[in-house]
Amino acid sequence: MTKQEALYKYVLRLGDHALIQGHRLSEWCSKGPILEEDLALTNLALDNIGRAQALLKYAAELQGLGNTEDDLAYKRGEREFYNSLMSELPTGDFAFTIAKQMLISVFEYFQFTALSHSADETIAGIAAKTLKEVRYHMMHARDWCYRLGKGTEESNRRLQNAINELWMFTGDLFEMNDEDKMLEVLDIAIDLNEIKTQFDTLVQTILRESDIRIPENGYMQTGSKKGIHTEHLGHVLTEMQYLQRAYPDATW
């Protein structure tokens, strides 16, 4: 594997994660619990899709085959996607979406803080811009954790169930492979083990302040860095890629 190939895979992974997370959030459009939150969730979706566009555009350049960001988003199959397993999980109820957004935002907050110092200028630039957005996502999701956790018996139960269900997908966020190791030496990629401690501390604080029990670290799902996914990604792609698959290269 050359440095160029490793960088391509690394940037692709960051882009895929934002794309799939953005798509899942966009599923809330017109279905939010109140109009205000409907807009808030779709704003988060747009932030993610904007980030995906920037990253996939850069990935396409690195790939050097004349592809565009749209080719990468709409013309790859399930096994060629490297988004985190957590991002592809169905939206579930509102508590599940909030719990998922909180865990992902906390992870991204530390990830992009570190990546804003990347030796790769494009990654560092995208990370610095993303960091502003992610700080807001994290605050928004954290505040909702407080409200649901300390709200009614039902809202607490729903948030607790969501955290329990999501916990086994947290391990996948921190897995590293050969690309990470190769690029970390060059100060381009980051050591995810280093941000794991920060993630654990902040997530535990938020959950404790929300009256939510912290689950035991048991069995952890794995696979996204190898392109192995849950059964849910295929369904996301079916909907997301429908137009390009049915009418290749359609323009309007």
Binding site: I34, E36, L39, A40, N43, D143
Partner: protein, 94 residues
Amino acid sequence: MDTQLDLWEVFIQSKAGSHHVHAGSVHASDEAMALQNARDIYTRRNEGSSLWVVPAKYITASSSADADMLFDPANDKIYRHPTFYIMPEGAKQI
């Protein structure tokens, strides 16, 4: 039952130094949510640099029935407008 949470009025300052101008309202259960909802609804297209949110119940409004009494007497007091001054040369506004 009203399930829409409390009503808050939103004021946006478009740039530092200018007034906060009423933009509309949002529903929210607390101050933090009111600010976030206002940000998400009213500043999506670069409209603002600062936000105020005020619980709508704290705004006292004049009654439309009193509009004649309150505002009509000002109609014929043209001398209250500073239009009788000669603009100093070079001044854009006074």
